[in-house]
């Protein structure tokens, strides 16, 4: 059965791919159930999600100029009405859900092949089940990443987006619905490998973490500022390959500092294990500060 989109919804504002109505959620086998609104693996979305009419009246008012020209304005939080606000609403819902469930949600982004899945695999080996972890992983097709991560014992949900180049808040919400309601303290959202489009889609995460592999160019942060800026941390991955690849880590650090001055930089090789302790240390600190925040 193919569902026709009944309305326009969040589209990727960066590459123009508009059809994200046919993503699939693959829950951990034997766990969870398809949430309300999903059957036959397809997502339905209700008209209430479109949402932009709800606040349309708020703040719009008219002015008449001396020459009789009539203009209307709205002064919102940022001086206007958001053009793409449906995703933002869903992201805020997710944020509230994560807070209520005491989950720290991290959005992991990078270009394809930077090592997100391998880093997560190593992380789950060390962290789970001492800290209850869960993973939502997005790809265009296949469940390969979920299969690679499941031996870690944590619940893993694969989202296949079809042709869509990023995860959006609605996909994450549908996926998180299939996770166990309790015992998940740390939720990793492994985004579709892409340095452009995911930057525009808030998923409701607590922090965005960007991976930059030593097999990429040192100046990538300067080329893709939106995804790097505001990141809580940048992980320079595959550091064991830095030397053979001629990757200058100091140069990469400088580029990261220019675009994301507040980001912590961690050098990791998932293959050799170098830097994994520093990475786990960051996760522990984020969990601790999250728990502290939850008490207030």
């Amino acid at each position: 059965m193919t569902l026709q989109p009944t309305q326009k919804t969040d589209m990727c504002e960066n590459c123009g791919c508009g059809n994200n109505d046919h993503f699939h959620v693959h829950p951990t086998p034997g766990e969870g159930h398809l949430p309300h609104g999903l059957h036959e693996g397809h997502a339905h979305h209700e008209s209430h999600e479109h949402g932009h009419a709800h606040e349309a009246d708020g703040g719009w008012h008219a002015h008449t100029a001396a020459d009789g020209a009539v203009s209307w304005h709205r002064h919102g939080g940022h001086g206007g009405q958001p053009v793409l606000d449906a995703n933002q609403r869903e992201a805020e819902r997710n944020r509230g859900y994560f807070r209520a469930r005491d989950m720290l949600a991290l959005n992991l982004v990078s270009s394809p092949g930077a090592g997100k899945t391998t880093l997560l695999r190593k992380t789950l080996e060390r962290l789970h089940p001492r800290v209850g972890c869960a993973v939502v992983v997005g790809d265009l097709e296949t469940q390969a990443d979920a299969d690679a991560l499941r031996p870690g014992g944590a619940p893993v949900v694969q989202i296949t987006t079809g042709t869509v180049c990023h995860l959006d808040a609605r996909m994450v919400s549908a996926a998180v619905d299939t996770l166990p309601k309790d015992g998940v303290r740390l939720l990793f959202i492994e985004n579709v490998g892409n340095l452009v489009c995911p930057a525009s889609f808030d998923l409701g995460e607590s922090h965005r973490i960007v991976l930059l592999a030593a097999t990429e160019g040192e100046n990538k942060p300067l080329k893709y500022p939106p995804i790097f800026h505001g990141a809580r941390a940048v992980v320079i991955s595959k550091t064991d390959l830095a030397e053979p690849a001629g990757f200058d880590i100091a140069l990469a650090r400088e580029a990261i500092a220019q675009v994301a001055p507040e980001a912590e930089i961690i050098e990791v090789s998932s293959r050799t294990g170098a830097g994994i302790d520093a990475w786990l240390g960051l996760l522990e600190r984020l969990l601790a500060s999250d728990a502290l925040g939850a008490k207030h």
Binding site: T64, W72, G79, L84, H229, P261
Partner: protein
Amino acid sequence: MHEVAISEALLDQLVTLAEQHGWTRLSRVWVRMGMLSGVVPEALEFSFSAMATGTVAEGAELVMETVPGRFGCGTCGEFDLERFEFACPQCDGPLQLLKAGRELMISGVELMDDSPTNPEN
């Protein structure tokens, strides 16, 4: 050409707003965009004018305002720029992006003279 998709959302919003407020024709639409919104103004203008045909915004001028980002230079201090620069325009030293927005907002519209809407209503 992702701006086609953005124009679609923008026109969607304008049509809804027009229905709510009784606007019949728009002569201008103001849009504010953060530097990190990922929008190319020229492409948005082009797709908007093409796609506005047959809507309340047909022929309307799209006025785009970029919200500047805050940059910092170790030597020259902090200042706002409307474009990404990673070398200080004054001393050519390394420049840091300190703060910039992702917002994309409709901030206002101007009605055509023949629009019957009374702003007092």
